[in-house]
Amino acid sequence: MTTTEPVSAGPAGGVAIARAIDAWKIYGQGETAVTALAGVSVDFIKGQFTAIMGPSGSGKSTLMHCVAGLDSLSQGQVLIGDVDLSRLDDKALTLLRRDRVGFIFQAYNLIPTLNALENIVLPSTLAGHKPDPQLLDRVIDTMGLRERMKHRPSELSGGQQQRVAVARALAMGPEITFADEPTGNLDSRSSGEILDFMQAAVRELGQTMVMVTHDPSAAAYADRVLFLDDGRIIDEMHTPTADAVLDRLKRIGD
């Protein structure tokens, strides 16, 4: 089952912070060409927590990388706000990432020689200005990191490191934040903590979050889940539960 209409849901009349329009990504040429994305169109609405799921090779990471400006499409458009990413050169994309888009990786999110606070304000430091002090305070408290500001990453647990990563993504007041398997390396308790915080960021700080995950219980924290297979969005689920997600995943490929 395939769908190519823009899938938009969430609060009616919500503003689309980021959009993919007929996105194609093809690696290689001719006989050995691999299609990672096959005409995906999707809107990400302000204030919404979206999870993207699918088997490996489904294109979920590719979709997110392209929307976040880390990779380029072979065909189609990605818009963040009104800006068409395909028009931007490397420098402009980098500045976009610095000022407007937050990113959280699965692991190795932090610069080992900087302490927690320095890592959190890294985007602002790169830009050469101070971060918004009020937002910074709020983010630090929301993430529960007040006691750990002076610690180096080697002195933090896995869960704490991820929280710092989330705080970094949020502290510069991004329009949208992407997370690539943020709980992949964590035990279940830390995972739960992180996901709570991410949810809190969406609810209390009005953030827009997009998360790629393969874990159904993680997806349950989202407002909606997008299912990808073979480079296409094949289904969408709102107010997901872990069981429903697991069921749907099992049925992919049928």
Partner: protein, 855 residues
């Protein structure tokens, strides 16, 4: 394991290339040195053989004592030409002739000397009527006759644009004279005898013009057919007076060859020393590179161990890699060295040092040494990293990347400080005690201290200097250099070696120059010094000072000549330098610091001695010394004066004995009867400039030697020292280059290591320019680390060295060459930047996505 080792090598070609380059440079330099000296030796060997081809026996005065003249030949007196008839009548002698062999030079039609007096050797000798004794071939024209005709070598003819039929001025040991060029000669196809100029007259003319006393230097003889050289010599020996000897032509050739070999050996050793410095720098590069590679391959090595590889197998695998690199690099270096030697020989030719071309000589010794040195250097440097590799525990295959441990052990700091204190202490003690061995050892300890204290120093220097780089790029650059202080320190060490040695030489040279100039100034009473410039080969005809005395406004003139005699000292007879001066005028032009007696008292039976030698031997005024002249005769000389500083007359540290010119002329062979320099004092009230122009005018008749006042003398001295320094710095450039290659290498590997981290920075918003600046800053920081350490060590050791020679050089002082040091600092900065360019570029061009996904 061999396969794995080889696969590893090939998998990282760039790493392999860089490591190889360092060894190629060092080995190439060393191999080039050997090939060059071997080739030069062979060239000269052939040259000497050709020159002596027709000579079966050589007759000359016995050498009275050991020692050499300024151009390296033994000291012996002259022969009476009457001996020729005796030789000719000896059975077995087919032909014999005299050899007049002293110095002579010619001028162009304008009167300017063709070759700088005192630059290339300039020989004047006679043409034998028997052509087999002549080493040259007449290319144009014909043989000369009488005292107004001569032959000239093609090299000089071309340089001075002289042709057959030209009449030009000739200068030798008698008055300058005009003579006509009757022919142009070549030597076995070459334009000159290894760059020396040759002025050739017939025997009668040579005796008149080239010798002040009509004596000859040698007699040569050819044997009758069937007679061996040895038989001839035996026959001749029977008729010779006591103080004359005969040797076979072969023996004479062998003698010349050996003498040259000695000189070349020294040359070889010096150059090899410089090559050694480069290799030492290379050692640290290899050690560091392998260390980094091992650290990066921890997981892989652990996996091998987990799969069952023994510790020794891992070790041998690493050493094997090193050995292959060493072997390949040594072979490449050998070829590079041969190329270098060929290039250098061509360079010599370009500056007029014509040597007959021989194919480059590659002795087995050169091949063996190159291979062994290259191989040993590489494998020894990899020894410690290989050992560390074998220590990797199998369980580390399962762990995430090892966390760097920036803690430097207290023990290491303790040892380092101990070495520092010991080294500095020895340096100071050597300097104040004026002995070199503790100083050398102290320098070595200081260097060791810099290696041991490298890591904590790295963090210190980075913290201080790194603040100069602003912003987050500076902060991250500082952190990156400081987070692995051992690696940063090791990388910098190659540069410490190169720049440290350069600084030592520079500080010492500049200080030495300043000291010499101070010495010159303190003793200089004259208004002008007329000198031959260059390195003292040849000199100014004695007629010059005679005529200078007659000039208007000239009050005093003294020539200075340097020769050798043997003097019976407290323990035994020693060969000593003596300096001939004009005893009546010398006080007016030089201040030797007379303590007792007076130089004007020096007559044919006297001698003046310096305080140091007086004290050494327990002599006093009035003592009579036994002096053996160059011709072997023994004479008595009474001490008539004691002076403080011989450096003034000698321009170095062996000015221990001064005699009147009459004594000098009696005691030295003809060829030494040239003034090394002439000092002139203008009369009171006379315009100094007018005297200068008179001297210039007179000089035109003598090949225009340099007329200089004190300031110009000092400037010339400084220029000469700077030239030597420049030469040495060029030789050390190799080591410095290796230092920068080391930084390049480490940074490249480090960027590779930090791929994911750089990807993260880019993802979070660091633009390419910031990444590049960060990496460049790291490169410059490490370079500065090496430079600062190198400078500090260089300054200390160079200064200490200068102070340690105060006995030999009373005016020794330290003069810091600030402009030069600033230049070296700039070199460090620019080199550091250049080394970082490619790594910075690579880092900034990393594909963000691939970088993040990297492991």
């Amino acid at each position: 394991m061999t396969k794995i080792a080889l696969k590893n090598l090939l998998g990282h070609k760039l790493r392999l290339l860089i490591t190889t380059v360092a060894i190629v440079l060092g080995v190439g330099f060393m191999a080039g040195t050997f090939v060059l000296t071997d080739t030069l030796a062979k060239t000269f060997d052939e040259l000497f053989e050709n020159v002596n081809e027709g000579t079966d026996a050589l007759i000359r005065q016995k050498s009275a004592f050991e020692g050499t003249t300024q151009d390296g030949s033994s000291i012996r007196g002259d022969l009476d030409p009457a001996l020729l008839d005796v030789i000719r009548d000896t059975p077995g002698v087919d032909a014999a002739d005299v050899v007049v062999f002293t110095v002579a030079s010619v001028a162009t039609e304008d009167g300017e000397a063709v070759n700088d007096v005192g630059g290339t050797p300039q020989f004047g000798f006679n043409a034998s009527t028997d052509d087999r004794f002549n080493p040259y071939d007449i290319d144009e024209g014909q043989a000369p006759t009488g005292a107004d005709e001569f032959l000239i070598d093609r090299g000089t003819a071309e340089k001075g644009k002289l042709a057959v039929g030209d009449t030009v001025k000739v200068f030798s040991l008698t008055e300058p004279f005009e003579a006509e060029i009757t022919g142009i000669v070549s030597f076995d196809g070459e334009d000159s005898l290894a760059g020396a100029s040759a002025t050739i007259m017939d025997t009668e003319g040579a005796l008149q013009r080239f010798t002040p006393n009509g004596k000859v230097q040698q007699i040569v003889a050819a044997a009758e057919p069937g007679e061996s050289q040895q038989q001839l010599v035996d026959n001749i020996r029977a008729v010779l007076p006591d103080n004359v000897e005969a040797i076979t032509g072969e023996a004479s050739t062998a003698e010349s060859q050996d003498q040259l070999q000695e000189g070349l050996q020294i040359f070889n050793t010096v150059l090899a020393g410089f090559a050694g410095v480069a290799l030492l720098a290379g050692t640290f590069l290899i050690y560091n590179t392998f260390g980094i590679i091992i650290a990066q391959r921890t997981r892989e090595l652990a996996l091998l161990r987990a799969l069952g590889a023994r510790r020794s197998q891992v070790r041998w695998s690493v050493l094997g890699e090193a050995a292959v690199i060493g072997l390949v690099a040594s072979i490449l270096g050998l070829f590079a060295g041969i190329g270098l030697a060929i290039g250098l020989k061509a360079l010599f030719g370009a500056v007029g040092f014509d040597l007959p071309s021989t194919a480059a000589v590659l002795k087995p010794r050169t091949v063996v040494v190159s291979l062994v040195v290259g191989l040993l250097t590489t494998t020894l440097s990899a020894l410690a990293p290989a050992w560390r590799a074998s220590r990797v525990a199998p369980v580390e295959a399962m762990r995430a990347a090892a966390v760097e441990t920036p803690k430097v052990s207290k023990l290491r700091i303790g040892v380092g400080i101990l070495l520092l204190v010991l080294g500095a202490g020895l340096l100071v003690s050597g300097a104040s005690g004026k002995t070199l061995p503790p100083l050398a050892f102290g320098a070595f300890l200081l260097f060791l201290a810099s290696v041991v204290l490298g890591p904590p120093l790295a963090r210190l220097v980075t913290g201080l200097v790194g603040r100069a780089v602003p912003g987050i790029t500076g902060r991250l650059a500082r952190d990156n250099v400081a987070r692995n202080p051992k690696r940063s320190a090791n990388t910098a060490t190659s540069l410490v070696i190169g720049l440290g040695v350069v600084t030592i030489f520079t500080v010492f040279s500049t200080s030495f120059g300043a000291s010499i100039n101070a010495a010159v100034e303190s003793g200089f009473r004259a208004d002008f010094q007329v000198s031959s410039g260059g390195f003292g080969l040849g000199g100014i005809s004695p007629a010059f000072s005679e005529q200078a005395r007659e000039l208007d406004g000239v009050e005093a003139v003294s020539g200075i000549r340097r020769g050798s005699v043997q003097i019976k000292e407290k323990t035994e007879p020693k060969t000593r330098a003596i300096f001939g001066v004009d005893s009546q005028d010398v006080d007016k032009v030089l201040d030797l610091g007379i303590e007792e007696g007076s130089l004007t008292d020096l007559g044919p039976d006297n001698i003046a001695v310096d305080r140091v030698t007086i004290d050494e031997n327990g002599w006093k005024m009035g003592d009579v010394l036994d002096v053996t002249y160059a011709d072997g005769t023994l004479h008595q000389h009474e001490i008539a004066a004691i002076y403080e500083d011989g450096g003034v007359v000698a321009q170095n540290n062996d000015g221990h004995f001064v005699v009147d010119m009459s004594v000098y002329e009696a005691s030295q062979p003809s060829a030494s009867q040239v003034d090394n320099r002439v000092l002139v004092k203008a009369a009171d009230g006379v315009e100094v400039d007018s005297v200068r122009s008179e001297l210039d005018g007179l000089g035109k008749d003598f090949g225009s030697p340099e007329v200089q006042d004190l300031g110009e003398v000092q400037d010339a001295q400084t220029a000469q020292i700077n030239q030597q320094l420049a030469f040495m710095v060029v030789l050390l450039a190799m080591a410095i280059l290796i230092g920068f290659i080391g930084i390049f290498n480490t940074l490249l590997l480090s960027v590779l290591e930090r791929t994911r981290e750089i990807g993260l920075l880019r993802a979070v918003g660091m633009v390419r320019g910031q990444v590049a600046r960060m990496v460049l800053a790291e490169s410059v920081l490490v370079s500065l680390l090496g430079s600062i350490l190198g400078f500090v060590i260089g300054l200390s050791v160079g200064s200490a060295l200068m102070l340690a020679i105060r006995d030999e050089l009373p005016t020794a002082r330290i003069s810091l060459p600030i402009p030069v040091l600033v230049i070296y600092g700039l070199v460090a900065l620019i080199g550091g930047t250049a080394a970082g360019l490619l790594p910075a570029f690579r880092a900034s061009r990393l594909n963000v996505l691939e970088a993040i996904a990297a492991d």
